[in-house]
Symmetry: C2
Subunit: 400 residues, 2 copies
């Protein structure tokens, strides 16, 4: 059937032969293949794809004056990521349209299928960049100055991918409701023994860059007591972040680091590391990050190093439309659960668009990893659930 | 004078405009410039340079059957290194020949000036690679399989630099004695208030690669207690190494790290870090590294990560010829001091060649850093001292 064919077509794109994981960074050839694949799938369904100046895509089924229902997700991945995070929502959106058509449904409002670029922030460090730009949460003037790890400006990366930023961005004017289906990135559904759930909220979360500056020196001849070694300040900070998150039952991770000069026989001059932190409330997040920063500052004082902390992207808590979640959950008796992962759905919700998320069970909870997976039966249950949701939201006379 | 002219000529080669430090990695264009510069300086002195199949160079002043005295050092640098570490020994060797000629000295034995490649191990991770190969401490069959950080094999890097490894290596058959002048990488001479010293020994030292393997996962959704985060194991190990070295008054440093996938929102799957460790005796070094490894293993057990430790290059203690050091120190009343830094002189000494080192005062002790420096007056004192040493070793009837 169509779902499995689409899944098979996507399977090799951007896949690492060594790890089995995916490298689908935005404005690369892998992502270009995915964009072309999406346009072909839409064309095969008689839908016309609109691609905006930075690569966001949308295809609408049906016209009319009523506000429409947008569904979809993203196709990019983290570095060495899994197959499901993002693509499952796009493939399921297309398959749900097939299902609605097979059921003979004539939607009373337009249904759009959308793909947002750079959701993971894996290249330019800004999560949900495509939806942020579309929603006006980030300006192009600010975004164009972002650089990737090779120093390439965003504007140049976009142009190199054959896109023209001056062509403008997608409009959200037609979007009355947004529904994003996503593989669960945790073990809530597997613990409940159900294949599908609805989202209640996204935890507040953000990224902070920690620059630890010390003094480069010879690793062999410099007495330990004469050093200003920023690696030590970093190491203590990474352990402190873990401890703070465990104590508060929140999340804090240092998963990315860059060291200068990064030579075996040199005490580093600079260690830059990125903190990913999430918490169940805005206050809890601020408190945890402040505690980590305080411990890092204390250690920097002892190490004779200097610390600068820069917030790179911080998102407050997102409460999805509670009435909408309750109404949609009632369609299948699905549970309503929170998530600690950021999503384009959070950006659109913050922009005032009633938004819902459908989660598909993840048997291990593992995500952002080549080991991420979902059972095909659960994916197909997700497609049916999404079709039910879309049918409900577009039934004539129903509120979108 | 010649010393300052040579120094000025070298000053821009491989220098970073941003940091002011040097990037003179082996078999790069910067190192090619240095090799050409050395050949020109030798030619200007009527000396013929022999360049071997991997880029080691030597030029002899004088023929004859008696064993000769080789002096010199290296021209490569660590990443973002200083100007003096290596080049000071080569420039001083050439300047010392000028001084001997100006004094009208007719050496009773040949004097060679040599340059060894990849002393720092900054590209292929094996310190003193050029001298190790020449001395037979490492075989070409083993070395050719080494790869740099971009995955380039040593053999390909050498060939890309226009060299032909099959042309063979320098012979040490003519070398009766080796003398290396080097900037001090510590504060012994500045504390003694003298510009020049002789070396007694090199501390045992080595590099160990620590591979910490965990499980990639989502940094936001994975509960802290469900993680197998190798960054935590690494961080504790880096702090443990520092503590062990402080307790034992030895040296241990983690200055280089590589993280997979190195994404902000992913718990890493793999952290690889390199330990540089040095100690005053072979037993103290082995004890310290074992203690660090034991603490790392304990923490890996708690983190649910796996650790593999691989020694990459380990050098036992080098005691330079004590009679030679005493005899040469007597020429100027110079102190005889140990060093914690590895040198080509250690490799040649281990190969059974009587070897001495002359150190030049470093006013701050800083090395392997753009901030490394030496006063010109001290450098000129070093040239005079080296000329005295060479005159003594090549005086007719004296033992070399």
């Amino acid at each position: 059937m169509a779902f499995e064919e689409m899944w098979r077509d996507l399977s090799p794109v951007g896949r690492s032969a060594s790890s089995g994981g995916y490298f689908r960074q935005p404005w690369t050839s892998a992502e270009g293949e995915l964009r072309a694949w999406f346009a072909e799938e839409c064309a095969a369904r008689g839908l016309v794809v609109e691609t905006d100046g930075i690569g966001n895509q949308v295809a609408w089924w049906g016209d009319g004056d009523l506000p429409g229902v947008l569904t979809g997700s993203h196709l990019d991945s983290v570095l060495d990521g899994g197959a499901y995070d993002g693509p499952l929502g796009v493939v399921s959106a297309l398959a749900a349209i097939d299902t609605l058509r097979a059921r003979g449904v004539q939607p009373g409002r337009p249904i759009g299928v959308g793909v947002f670029v750079e959701e993971e922030g894996s290249r330019f460090g800004r999560a949900c960049l495509g939806s942020r730009l579309v929603a006006g949460a980030t300006t192009w003037e600010e975004a164009r100055e972002l650089r990737d790890r090779a120093g390439v400006f965003l504007a140049d990366a976009v142009a190199a991918a054959g896109l023209d930023p001056s062509a403008g961005l997608l409009s959200l004017d037609r979007v009355g409701t947004f529904v994003e289906l996503h593989v669960e990135q945790g073990r809530d559904l597997v613990d409940r023994d159900v294949p599908v759930g609805l989202a209640s909220e996204i935890w507040p979360h953000g990224r902070w860059r920690f620059d630890f500056a010390g003094q480069a020196n010879h690793a062999g001849t410099t007495r330990m007591e004469d050093r200003h070694d920023p690696m030590l300040t970093y190491a203590m900070t990474a352990l402190a972040a873990n401890k703070q998150a465990r104590l508060a039952e929140q999340r804090a991770t240092f998963g990315r680091i860059a060291v200068e000069p990064n030579g075996t026989n040199a005490v580093p001059s600079l260690v830059t590391a990125w903190l990913d932190a999430r918490a169940s409330s805005n206050a809890a997040l601020a408190d945890m990050v402040a505690a980590i920063e305080r411990q890092a500052e204390d250690r920097a004082g002892r190490d004779g190093t200097a610390l600068v902390v820069t917030p790179e992207s911080v998102s407050g808590s997102v409460a999805f439309d509670a009435d909408l979640a309750t109404r949609l959950a009632g369609l299948g008796g699905w549970p309503v659960i929170p998530t600690q992962a950021g999503h384009d759905a959070g950006i659109l919700s913050d922009a005032g668009i009633p938004t819902a998320m459908v989660f598909v069970r993840n048997p291990t909870g593992v995500s952002h990893s080549p080991d991420e997976r979902a059972e095909t039966a659960d994916c197909l249950a997700g497609v049916e659930a999404l079709a039910d949701v879309l049918a409900e939201l577009t039934r004539s006379g129903n509120p979108a």
